[in-house]
Symmetry: C2
Subunit: 133 residues, 2 copies
Amino acid sequence: MRGIEWLVDVRGCNEVALGDPDAIVALFETIVERAGLRPIGRPVWHQFPTTGGITAIWMLRESHLTIHTFPEFRSASLNLFCCTPRPAPGWREIIERTFGPAGEVGVRECPREYGDPVRTAAGMPPSAEAARP
Amino acid sequence: MRGIEWLVDVRGCNEVALGDPDAIVALFETIVERAGLRPIGRPVWHQFPTTGGITAIWMLRESHLTIHTFPEFRSASLNLFCCTPRPAPGWREIIERTFGPAGEVGVRECPREYGDPVRTAAGMPPSAEAARP
């Protein structure tokens, strides 16, 4: 089995939105909707008092969604890990909907191998997502 | 500023430990201790009833630690994101301490750029970690 993880590094954003928990939750909800994800509970987040930067995490049946914002650098680092491959959501459009025009949206797509082809061929579930109802 | 993220993909593990929440928390505590990390609160986790697989996440002042285990494939996918670089912990030794001998421990080290050198040079905090007391 092969999952997929996107590492999204954004620079040149609106620093007010980067320090706004409501904006971060709205961003997460947009990603979940666009990528057809199934959250577990609600996002958890922490705001750092010195900089206003936010760390937020949402567990998903498909794996996880995380972000760290750095208003002092006008930047953010986001991860989306899905245990089954799917098309990339339109990252720039999603990011700019929340944070306004961004100078740079760097996206890396990392395959994550976690299956055992021998056992899969022998009758294990065809996808871990299917096994996570 | 440059952070660092490790993507650690493990195969051929003990499936009992992979489905044991106490073992996952112990693994997280070992990583936190070895890498000198500062957690925010306690880990949050979810166990999938069908497979016994566990998704666990721990917010850190340095960013985050996550794992997804797949007992049905005897595998796990772990992330550690630190907003300031540091030496890699000994991943195989840490993994095997919890999960027993592993067939494969694949480690990728991904730089995460989030700073603005111009603003940093102009007097911004020398590290995001320093700004996150």
